[in-house]
């Protein structure tokens, strides 16, 4: 059914039939005249959001006994349950940040 020689013939005929690129004839100039100004990407709402979020997180955890106990145990070199939870949360956040970096690098 699909004899390669025939496929080549059809391909060649189709390429012959194609006229190729259209000459510019002022097209680009017309488009350039209609180009609207580029809107700058505003990044401050993102950073403000991150700061507010981090601040809220910190203030809610600051007075939590779990965080304080975990921190103290960790500094004392004691792997208690609060220290383990704290460690686990930090490892999770690091893994999340690492995954996000790899995903961003892959997109570029």
């Amino acid at each position: 059914m699909s004899d390669p020689h025939d496929d080549d013939t059809i391909d060649a005929l189709l390429r012959q039939q194609f006229d190729g690129p259209v000459p510019d004839d002022g097209f680009s100039a017309r488009v350039m005249q209609r180009l609207p100004p580029r809107r700058r990407h505003v990044t401050w709402p993102l950073w403000a959001g991150i700061l507010v979020g981090a601040g809220a997180c910190w203030s809610s955890l600051l007075f939590s006994p779990l965080l304080r106990a975990g921190w103290q145990d960790w500094l004392a070199g004691e792997l208690s349950m609060p220290a383990f939870v704290l460690l686990l949360a930090m490892a999770g956040m690091s893994a999340l940040a690492g995954w996000w970096c790899v995903a961003e690098a892959g997109d570029r």
């Binding site: 059914m1 699909s2 025939d6 496929d7 013939t9 059809i10 391909d11 060649a12 005929l13 189709l14 390429r15 012959q16 039939q17 194609f18 006229d19 190729g20 690129p21 259209v22 000459p23 510019d24 097209f27 680009s28 017309r30 488009v31 350039m32 209609r34 180009l35 609207p36 580029r38 700058r40 990407h41 997109d107 570029r108």
Partner: protein, 190 residues
């Protein structure tokens, strides 16, 4: 291959200059490099309507200007533009209720036997118009615009398998319809 890789790098650099420096001249370079093929693509899709194709091409480049930061370099810049152009074409078809449906799906007959006055290219044009719209689009992108099956799948937003099926089916139909011309065409090409 090396040429197309170099071309892709030039496009990437121009895109980066446009985005980082808000450089309209870099975008103008991109526009001049690609307008010819995008307009040719749209002319074929619109069956030779040059004015309409140019209107759509203008829309394509304005969209590309607005959405340039969404170009991630996963595909070549030209492929990205073809994809926008094909989406604009489909949208225009829906807006103006042009038929996008199938033209001659299923019927695999043969064109009338060629008389000396009939031209092979004219017959090919007629045969192309008898193909379904999807088959026409796949052959245009894969054969005439020189995209790979993967790239055509990206432009036409179709699964890869569907693209391959349309390409094989379209060519098979053309072979059947142009069977009477086979010897003549082989002579012309050689």
């Amino acid at each position: 291959m090396a040429d197309s890789a170099a071309e892709a790098r030039i496009d990437q650099a121009l895109v980066a200059r446009t985005l980082l420096g808000n450089d309209q001249r870099a975008f103008e370079h991109l526009l001049r490099r690609h307008q010819g093929m995008v307009r040719a693509q749209l002319r074929r899709l619109l069956r030779g309507d040059g004015a309409m194709a140019d209107d759509l091409a203008q829309e394509v480049f304005l969209l590309a200007w607005r959405k340039l930061d969404q170009f991630r370099g996963e595909a070549r810049f030209s492929t990205w533009l073809y994809r926008i152009a094909y989406a604009c074409f489909l949208q225009a078809c829906r807006k103006r209720s042009w038929p996008v449906g199938d033209a001659g799906d299923g019927e695999v007959g043969q064109l009338p036997a060629p008389s000396p006055a009939m031209d092979l290219q004219l017959d090919l044009e007629r045969a192309m118009q008898r193909l379904s719209t999807a088959e026409q689009a796949v052959l245009l992108h894969c054969v005439q615009l020189g995209l790979s099956h993967d790239e055509a799948a990206y432009v036409l937003a179709m699964p890869l398998g569907t693209v391959k099926t349309h390409a094989a089916r379209g060519k098979a139909k053309l072979k059947t319809w142009l069977a009477a011309w086979r010897t003549t065409s082989e002579e012309q090409i050689s």
